[in-house]
Symmetry: C2
Subunit: 156 residues, 2 copies
Amino acid sequence: MTNPEKSPVPPAVIDDSTLRLFIGYHMKRAFNVVQADLTQTLKPFDLRMLTYTALVLVVDNPGLSQSQLADAMGIERPNLVVILDELEHRELIVRDRAPTDRRAYALKATLAGRRLYDKAVAAVITHENRLLASIDDATRSILIKALSEVREHQTT
Amino acid sequence: MTNPEKSPVPPAVIDDSTLRLFIGYHMKRAFNVVQADLTQTLKPFDLRMLTYTALVLVVDNPGLSQSQLADAMGIERPNLVVILDELEHRELIVRDRAPTDRRAYALKATLAGRRLYDKAVAAVITHENRLLASIDDATRSILIKALSEVREHQTT
DNA sequence: CGATAATAATTATGTGAAATAACTAATAGG
DNA sequence: CCTATTAGTTATTTCACATAATTATTATCG
């Protein structure tokens, strides 16, 4: 008689069927791939995901404050400090003083920052299109819409 | 004459239209919501995402080794050690010796581990259904299929 | 057969992304 | 004007993840 309790055979291939029931599992696995690709794509520009995101938002929103930027990025203000320090030391952005509030900074991209933005954004678009090559436009729209709807459940 | 270079008006609402061009941005924002919900859902069971994932895979794959589990979870072997230590100390899993290889462990869930698995899996399913309430079944299938296709670009 | 390579798990250690608490400077509101 | 709030910073912590090195065991190959 068999006794699976005492000596289970080491499975040759791992069954993740339970985990595949969960959308979070699929999202994490897929995002890992996208993030790995993004990291490689940004490496030639000496940008990480966070410095890239901050640069894009500063270029697109000249004059915003650090609090606004941290809020838009979904991180806490203290964590933004080092990110902006890096971008500022590389002279990609400047911390101007806000005209109406001497506590706040008005963040602005420099010309070099805008040029790096142009190149990095183009590179990321190219790389993402490669990752999405097998997915047609209609499906991409559905994907983005579904992800947006999930995001709308944000409680914080 | 206006001079937008010198005193940009602090934008009232932040423009993330460039970032919304990127599927990675949508995936990260959506996953953040799912993960926050998952963390809350697992808290009553004293499980984190990683301990939960490990428990599920051990229950579904009795007898697998730590190397196999680390590979399935996409983490390095050293990082799995503390995760399994925690599950073992709580007597949710055991590290049996593998019958064919005295270096390896044959991981198995205990009865308590399987019971916690049942409750936690049910809770996570309920919570995910809430997050996906506005998304019909056909769209969910498309979403999962698209995420799976992105994942298939895994290079590592 | 025996030396060497490879593998399983562990320990020690480091890094990067997040959070919180506490502080300074400046503004806002009763 | 005095108090509370806000903007930014510093210090510190936690967690997820990685690498290097070590021990024990197994596999390979000359």
